[in-house]
Amino acid sequence: MSYPPDLIKRLQTHAYTIRRHSLIMTTRAASGHPSSSLSMAEIMAALYFHELRVDPRCPDWPERDRFVLSKGHGCPAQFAALAERGFFDRRELLTLRQLGSFLQGHPDLKTPGVEAATGSLGNGISIAVGMALAGKLDRRPWRVYTVIGDGECQEGMVWEAAMAAAHFRLDNLCALLDFNGLETDGPVREIMNPEPLDDKFRAFGWHVVEVDGHDLVQILDALAEARRTAGRPTMIIAHTVKGKGVSFMEHELDWHGKPASPEQLRQALAELDAWAAAAGLEPPPPLDGEA
């Protein structure tokens, strides 16, 4: 499908901003998962700035779409998107992981716009199934979205949830799989290979679409296809690069659960800024605390 060029550029700018914020937040927090956030920046941009029907002024609006981040460790990207979408002041991002902050190390109901407590892998997709079931029960048009990881697919609970979603014919549920190939101890394929994931989800009764997870047109097309798919849930397998956008983080195992040092942060932001300038993107809103 064709989209207005300014829409794609606007979403690319949001992805760029989400990447910058995620890096700054985790360096400030001196902990967290920057590379897991970078791999899903386009997915977050597409969801929060195009797909999800949400109202930041009324986070509890009953008719809203729901989003559950099942791979909860990627929450810096979600928090950045929520702040930019207007759920809270972006300066709050700098309190990530600090005592008393509403931005916890993993998604928590304390945060405006966060719909479920997640982070223990496998839990989020199961919660999303429950939400979608409630929507079906009440015959409401709102939809449920969730993002899971490829390493997360090693959890048996993911497959319990996948079986149930198809059994209950939850076509109001759309999951996106951030397929970045790496987990804490090594490459996902080497640790415990969950592939072929497309065939597995198909066999479990899902409609499966594969996309380049950094190509916004492909992501938007797949989300639209999910909305058109009746009688079964959709799994969008998004092939991504862990650490996307920062040369020394891309494909690197050591960056799971490790923030950039202040010096590394300067280098990372410079790389992102140079890429964005070449792509003709607007400068992002500044976040205090940049290195």
Partner: protein, 328 residues
């Protein structure tokens, strides 16, 4: 003192016997007619947990998730987040054990309004054996912040507890058993209050503090002790958490000797909860009647109560022991 009227050994002999899970199934089906937000989930044990009674009346609000207890908890959390009032049921060993972590992180941590109503707790599961008999579920559930833990004594109290936990916003664990057990309360005369322990029998020599099936055992023990001239106070501590500390301390103060009685390990259950409070607020000689840090095994439930030291005789012996220490 105006205690509740007791049926046990008073008006019916032998007493009527009903399983707490049956009372749960009936109460839930009734409540379902009053509140359309109630949804019920089970993991392939609806005929055993008696949620089948709700399912038959309200099939559109009953969700069978199959043999997948983790997903049972996760789906319940999602339903609660969307405004429903989920009651989830399976066997206690699976609900508190297999599904502990989703229950912890998806329900207790965010304090969601999910009622975890599990049956077949304790050794009275009987013939299925130790793999299916929880001795640790109260300990596990009691250690989770935000969670209320209720262990009703009989069918009457179970029915009332179902209504009380429905009226309470927040996560609750309701522990029920498999066998038919004596009905000790008069439905008209007894009123369950969440968070309140109830004196069922007054006495000044020793306090028997019990929950679940052990309440009727404690009442029987009190009769035998009375024959020996020992006046036992019997306290029904059906809400194990939050513990009714005032009533527990007052009973300890009045008698100066305490015996806790539970169909659960002596580690982490009612005995531990009472010991924690008395140790800090009113040190009192006490004995714990319960399962002595061992698993269950196959057998009839009545034989198992004997084998694990959970009979009125065991309570009488514990009372004698604690009275000797009280005298020292």
């Amino acid at each position: 003192m105006d205690g509740p009227r007791l049926l046990l050994a008073k008006t019916e002999s032998p007493p009527r016997a009903v399983a707490t899970r049956d009372a749960y199934g009936d109460a839930l089906a009734q409540l379902g007619a009053e509140d359309p937000d109630i949804v019920v989930l089970d993991a392939d044990l609806a005929k055993s947990t008696k949620t089948i009674k709700f399912a038959e009346r309200f099939p559109e609000r009953f969700f069978e998730v199959g043999i997948a207890e983790q997903n049972l908890m996760g789906i319940a959390a999602g339903l609660a987040l969307a405004g429903k009032k989920p009651f989830v049921s399976t066997f206690a060993v699976f609900g508190t054990g297999r599904a502990f972590e989703p229950l912890r992180n998806s329900i207790a941590y965010p304090a969601l309004n999910v009622k975890i109503c599990l049956s077949h707790a304790g050794v009275t599961v009987g013939e299925d054996g130790g793999s299916h008999q929880t001795v640790e579920d109260i300990a596990l559930m009691r250690s989770l912040p935000n969670l209320t833990v209720v262990v009703p004594a009989d069918a009457v109290e179970t029915a009332q507890a179902v209504r009380a936990i429905h009226a309470h916003h927040g996560p609750v664990y309701l522990r029920m058993g498999r066998p038919s057990v004596p009905v000790i309360f008069d439905a008209e005369g007894y009123r369950f209050r969440l968070g309140r322990a109830t004196v069922l029998r007054e006495g000044r020599d020793v306090a028997l503090m019990a929950c679940g099936i052990m309440v009727s055992q404690a009442l029987a023990a009190a009769e035998r002790l009375a024959a020996e001239g020992i006046e036992a106070l019997v306290l029904n501590v059906s809400t194990v958490k939050p513990l009714d500390e005032e009533t527990v301390c007052a009973a300890a103060a009045r008698t100066g000797a305490v015996v806790t009685c539970e169909e659960h390990s002596v580690i982490g259950g009612l005995g531990s909860a009472v010991a924690e409070v008395l140790g800090e607020r009113r040190p009192t000689p006490m004995e714990r009647v319960g399962i002595k840090d061992v698993f269950g095994e196959s057998g009839t439930w009545k034989d198992l109560l004997k084998a694990r030291g959970l009979t009125p005789d065991d309570i009488v012996s514990a009372a004698r022991r604690v009275l000797r220490r009280k005298a020292d």
